[in-house]
Symmetry: C2
Subunit: 123 residues, 2 copies
């Protein structure tokens, strides 16, 4: 059913989990998939993320080379974030996650009373 050997499958899929595990990473990848943004613009689109968390998540995404951070040496400071090549290649997967999420929520196979689907509220 899977087309990978045990080792391949478990390692590879868990690598992806590590890449996107973090409270704001999916949201960041999402907004950056639409357009590059400066730090403050990201803040405005993710109003519930604290400065600290937003910076931490961006740093990790940058370290993992899904996001590119470009600093313009001007005053006042200007920093622009965008998806890297790898980040862009990840977009179809993110859409697939979304597709299954929607399928799951709307599935008649699901007993809607059991699973707690409450989630963070975005503006």
């Amino acid at each position: 059913m899977f087309h990978f050997r045990d080792q391949d499958y478990r390692c590879s899929s868990e690598i992806v989990m590590r890449l996107v595990s973090g409270k704001w990473k999916l949201a960041i990848l999402y907004v950056l998939s639409q357009t590059s943004l400066r730090y403050h613009e990201l803040q405005k689109r993710l109003p519930d993320a604290t400065q600290r968390m937003l910076t931490m998540q961006l740093r990790e995404l940058e370290r993992d080379e899904l996001v590119v951070r470009k600093v313009y040496p001007v005053v006042p400071p200007k920093v622009e974030y965008s998806l890297s090549e790898l980040g862009i290649q990840m977009v179809p997967l993110l859409n697939a996650l979304c597709d299954f999420g929607t399928l799951y929520m709307e599935s008649p196979l699901r007993n809607h009373s059991k699973a707690d689907t409450s989630s963070v509220q975005y503006q």
Copy 2:
């Protein structure tokens, strides 16, 4: 680039994250995608998972209706775990995760020295 509205996307994809977030969930879904298994057989395939964790992860997967737990009222006890309909529908997504993980690890775009790709060892 994404084909969802903000709300749809962020909520739906994070639902999936919540479903599979947990140390052994991907591994469990993987082995169950190949065959139904009794508890002790699962233990043998996931030798690094403690009893406590294995049970907890299975209970959550059952609660979220990705896995079915069937109890046979016999002595000694017999319990069999298998993927639910929803769990089976999730398999292509799990493969997609694996595909990107492999792509990511092998990508020439990646600076291999930076990202820490060490992972749990499976037997």
